[in-house]
């Protein structure tokens, strides 16, 4: 019974949702790269008059005329947006807003005029879709051949997904070029205008096929959220595409089960599936926004924090080195904690940075016979500090010689720059500073080890 119910009621909508999500996510990747994500939004509002007119002309609610009507108006809306952009020199967001709201309004107007609501034709049927009503009655003796009798929505969405994958596979290079460098594509003779139109037709088709089954809101969500999630996780386009497909499937399954089974825990009836899938795509996107390793917000904060610690630690080392440079007695090189922290007044994380330096052994803590604690550089610390000070003074000299900054202004700039300087840059600096052995303030530039 259970398995039968799953096959009968859950499998078809689940498959339809998955295939629609896959097609949308696939084209969504390119929309995302071209900053055209809202084309989906625009198209999905604009098809309403097409649907109404198709209905009025054909007199039926059957899907083929309605599909054609919607597709034509999707094309018209894309064209109109371009016209308004070109003729009126209107920014693309505003152009889309103007066009799709006008088309949507004329759809609403037509519905009221034609009293077409007689047969359940209203803006709702575009917005929500009817995933729930895609079910079938599989034979009691189940074989894989009987899957052929699944509702037609399943096959339609599968077919669209296959077509789109094939097209994307064939035109992958062109699409990539179009997404990253329109001028280059032009120069290479790819005819971006034709490609662009073709691409938008594919987008329109995938949207129009999907919304009858899943509704436009879900279509927009699936065009944007899975590719955006993937984009936060990787830099490579191919990886991004595969990840987005993975997330599309995951989101569809996750959203379906939230809609269907979570409410049953609380003895509530199931909620709208399309809505729940869009919400779950949002959940994944939110997770990626916060926790993506490289581009996530928490990762970024951690990185910034780590860098701040590095800067403070290097400044501590530099300070200790400079003190040891000018002190003649070896005991003068030892600083109490209070003395050490004088230049870092108001810096909150300095204690932690110091503790860290002690832990990795760049700074040593010595107790004298009186029980006072003193800090000094260890051998590794000395080496690191020497390099830092060398970089610092090279920068100062460089800024004075080459950039023409005044001597008394270079210190702070060099203080910042020294933390970003790697070995290659340091060598380059040394070369352009030349034979000078001293910085503009007359202090020795330490030799490289």
């Amino acid at each position: 019974m259970d398995m039968y119910q799953f096959l009968s009621i859950d499998l078809p909508p689940l498959l339809t949702a998955i295939f629609c999500s896959l097609s949308c996510a696939l084209v969504g990747n390119f929309l995302l790269l071209r900053k055209m994500s809202l084309v989906g939004d625009s198209i999905s509002h604009s098809v309403l008059p097409g649907i109404v007119i198709a209905f009025l002309l054909s007199g039926t609610r059957s899907s083929i005329p309605i599909f054609i009507g919607a597709l034509i108006f999707a094309g018209i809306s894309v064209l109109l947006v371009e016209v308004v952009k070109k003729l009126g020199k209107v920014e693309s967001g505003a152009a889309m807003g103007v066009v799709f709201s006008l088309m949507f309004a004329s759809g609403v107007f037509l519905i009221e005029q034609a009293s077409a609501r007689v047969v359940d034709l209203d803006a709702d049927c575009v917005l929500h879709g009817q995933l729930e009503t895609i079910f079938w009655f599989p034979p009691k003796v189940f074989s894989f051949l009987s899957l052929l009798n699944l509702p037609y929505e399943v096959f339609a969405s599968l077919l669209v997904f296959c077509l789109i994958s094939i097209l994307v596979f064939i035109f992958y290079k062109e699409l990539t070029l179009l997404s990253f460098d329109k001028e280059l594509a032009d120069a290479l003779g790819f005819k971006p205008a034709i490609l662009n139109t073709g691409f938008l037709i594919i987008v329109a088709a995938s949207i129009v096929i999907s919304f009858k089954a899943v509704g436009t809101i879900l279509v927009i969500a699936m065009l944007i959220c899975p590719p955006a999630t993937a984009r936060l996780l990787t830099d490579k386009l191919k990886t991004q595409i595969f990840l987005s497909l993975f997330f599309a499937v995951l989101t569809a399954i996750f959203g379906y089960f939230i809609a269907v089974f979570l409410p049953s825990f609380f003895n509530l009836s199931a909620v709208n599936i399309a809505g729940s899938i869009s919400v779950s795509s949002g959940i994944f996107l939110t997770l990626a926004i916060f926790f993506a390793p490289q581009y996530g917000i928490i990762g970024k904060i951690k990185k910034t924090k780590k860098f701040a610690h590095k800067v403070i630690a290097e400044d501590i080392l530099g300070f200790l080195f400079r003190v040891s440079e000018v002190s003649e007695e070896s005991t003068d090189k030892l600083l109490t904690k209070k003395q050490l922290l004088v230049p870092f007044k108001g810096v909150k994380i300095v204690e932690k940075s110091l503790a860290n330096l002690l832990k990795i052994g760049d700074v040593l803590k010595v107790k004298n016979s009186d029980g006072f604690e003193f800090y000094s550089l260890s051998e590794t610390g000395q080496l690191r500090a020497k390099n830092l000070v060398r970089t610092h003074r090279l920068w100062e000299q460089y800024l004075v010689d080459e950039v023409g900054v005044k001597e008394d202004h270079v210190h702070d700039t060099a203080m910042d720059l020294e933390h970003f300087t790697d070995e290659i840059l340091e060598d380059g600096l040394a070369k352009s500073v030349g034979a000078k052995k001293q910085d503009p303030h007359g202090r020795d530039i330490p030799e490289k080890d």
Binding site: D2, V118, E132, F261, S264, A270
Partner: protein, 324 residues
Amino acid sequence: MKKISYFIILIFLLFLSCKNKESNSFSKQSNSKIKIVATTSMIGDLCKNIAGERGEVVSLMGEGIDPHLYKPTRTDIVKLNSADIVFYNGLLLEGKMIDALVRIAASGKPVLAVTELLKESFLLEPKEFQGQVDPHVWMDPKAWSASAVVIANSLAKNCPDSKEYFLSSLESFKEKIFKLDKLSETALNTVSPKTRVLVTAHDAFNYFGRRYGFEVVGIQGLSTESEAGVHDLEQIVSLLVERKISAVFIESTISKRNIEALIEGAKAKNHQVEIGGRLYSDAMGKPGTLEGTYLGMIAHNVSTIVKALGGTLPEEGLLQKINQ
């Protein structure tokens, strides 16, 4: 990747645990009872009255739910699929359920429109909405008894053992309905012919009006999907003022904003109109209360209208009189 695979496992666990729960709540309870699913609560009430203890009736739409806009959820689909027989109103009342009902019917399960016995000449086709038939048949108790006949006959056909039972309960229920109809007629006749105008939030009371001689004006059209026009509102206001109608009615399933705007408009023309009360149009009241049954709903509507428009009611109340 590891985290993701954990996540997938988690989902499957969730899925499995749900499955068990599902199987408890939807397992077959007993074989002797016929499982009936009705869309609106009015149909559900008919089924309950006719099938009695021989049937197990589930109605999908609860209190205050607008059938014009009702979208089936998966839970509803499960209920529909597990039913032995499905009754719906038809005449495009359940606009958003057509797809689901068509698919269920395609499987060979009996899916029946309770309005199928009504003759075309009986049905109303308002002028403003050509080609659209008014689906609010239950507002005329006599017509609704024809729906009871449809239900009884098809139950008998699907469950021949209980044929006698169904037909006898049909007879007794019909008797009640006719009694209510008579009583309503006498009560409503006490309203003076001048003020026999019923202004409501949407066009649900046309059959009621025809049966009892009331003029009916709805702000919204037959379906609640359409937007009310300022034009229509203005016309109704002038009607209220011209005919000196003192009460308008809100409906349990529809926002009362339009009616409030109407009252304000009349007030601006120095004509005081009041909300005469809340009528049950597209859904019955809370289950378990009197208004939660079909007879109670009609009785409630009739007494509300009679009271608001200045008629007189039998002292003991309509429902009590039926049961006498």
